[in-house]
Amino acid sequence: MQQKILSVQNLTKSFVMHLQNGLQLPVMDGAGFEVFTGECVVLGGPSGAGKSTLLKMIYGNYAADAGEIIIAHGDQHTDLVTASPREILRLRQSTIGYVSQFLSAIPRVSALDLVAQVARQWGHSEEVAQEKAAKMLSQLNIPEHLWGLPPATFSGGEQQRVNIARGFMGEHKLLLLDEPTASLDAANRQVVLSLIEERKANGTAMLGIFHDADTRDKVADRVIDVTKFAVQRAA
């Protein structure tokens, strides 16, 4: 049976730009939707509609002004809008994962270790973690001779794929996908699509942004049009 993992209600967000004379930028008013286990929901709408803002609020990276973001974890429910920093950090460890191509690179840690680290955090032994990381890196076509090197020395595309590998290495119940396929070549895009399918099959709930229409059509069980949550601006 499908379980509700994420429930967003009446979510409101505006930015106040103090350095521009307190300019108010309302971006979202009354956003509401739900995401269940085993489905991939895609946020749709033109750029500037607030897709990325919405995803960042659900990760706790942006603060909402009002409303609720209820996350189900174990038999508990936590509202991210009012959660303390510690609770948000715990949820990021236990429940909410973020897959992005762009994460701050940690210097001096090898690609293999960066990915294995995540598997270790999920309770796998050193040996299993290394195995899983190796499998993920080869799946994403990172040449084996690079595994022992820190990604800071890699090409842009290789770094992006290491970040994706890290994102999918976790076993979070809710995965936020921030354009994981953008700028990937066809072969690697296909790998990410199959990783998404795999996760879907084992019950992970996913919410993502995909600009490429073709990819979106392939992964989306539902598309939520974010423009309906946008603040109606007076003409």
Binding site: H18, K56, A63
Partner: protein, 263 residues
């Protein structure tokens, strides 16, 4: 998650300090939990160093209380302890990494003695054991074993800072205060030091309160951040939230003043 980790290690209540009429810091409140890294940011004169000095009992504040939960689980007001008790905390349970190595190291005694000194202060007297522990710590902070008998004045700035970290961590402290630990170092040396601190924090589960004016350092190391201005905490929260979605005018100014060089 054990019950122990659900209780704050440090609990700061209405802390204020005045230098005569002049405000140092005012009405600071926060809890620090085991394993948490808290960054205090703000420009010079914002009160962040005053706050750090109050928390580490180097200054007794004009008003307020700080409760520290000791290894037995009892919570004591730091300012009601005797000076002797405060000194024991600073030597054992706590560490203090200073901006200038000369303030945190003894520059003319050997690296090994700098690390061993804190162990001896705890009553360790076995020379061979102390030396072995010192060697072990030099290795952890990436200082070659053959430098153990050299005085830190012969070390580079980055090495001195790493030695200071070893000296502080050798007693397995639970809480480490850091005052601009990467200030004044070259960027590449800084990166190495930050990387080391990051690794030690996650391996040892340390709680850290770090004062810095460098938001990149705060982002890399801390879970939570407090922004200070004119002696007051004007914004606080999850580090990436405060830096990516700052609400106060001053925080927005700080964030927008960062030079973006690479990522």
């Amino acid at each position: 998650m054990s019950l122990d980790q659900d209780l704050p290690l440090l609990s700061v209540k209405n802390l204020s300090h005045f230098y005569g009429q002049h405000l140092g810091c005012k009405n600071v409140n926060f809890d620090l939990y085991p394993g948490e890294v808290l960054a205090i940011v703000g420009e010079s004169g914002s009160g962040k160093t005053t706050l750090l000095n109050c928390l580490s009992t180097q200054i007794i504040p004009t008003d307020g209380a700080v409760f520290y939960r000791n290894r037995k689980g009892q919570s004591d007001n730091l300012y009601e302890m005797s000076e002797a008790q405060q000194r024991i905390l600073l030597r054992t349970d706590w560490g203090f990494v200073r901006q200038h190595p000369r303030d945190g190291l003894r520059m003319n005694v050997s690296a090994g003695a700098n690390v061993g000194e804190r162990l001896m202060a705890l009553g360790d007297r076995h020379y061979g054991k102390i030396r072995d522990t010192a060697l072990d710590w030099l290795e952890k902070v990436e200082i070659q074993a053959d430098r153990i008998d050299d005085a830190p004045r012969t070390f580079s700035g980055g090495m001195q800072q790493r030695l200071q970290i070893a000296r502080n961590l050798v007693t397995n402290p639970r809480l480490v205060f850091m005052d601009e630990p990467t200030g004044g170092l070259d960027v590449s040396v800084q990166a190495r030091l930050l990387d080391l601190i990051r690794r030690l924090v996650s391996e040892l589960g340390l709680s850290i309160i770090i004062v810095t004016h460098d938001l990149a350092v705060a982002r890399l190391l801390s879970d939570r951040i407090m922004v200070m201005k004119d002696g007051k905490v004007i914004e606080q929260g999850l580090t990436d939230q405060v830096l990516d979605d700052p609400h106060q005018a001053y925080t927005q100014l700080l964030v927008s003043s960062i030079l973006h060089v690479g990522s």
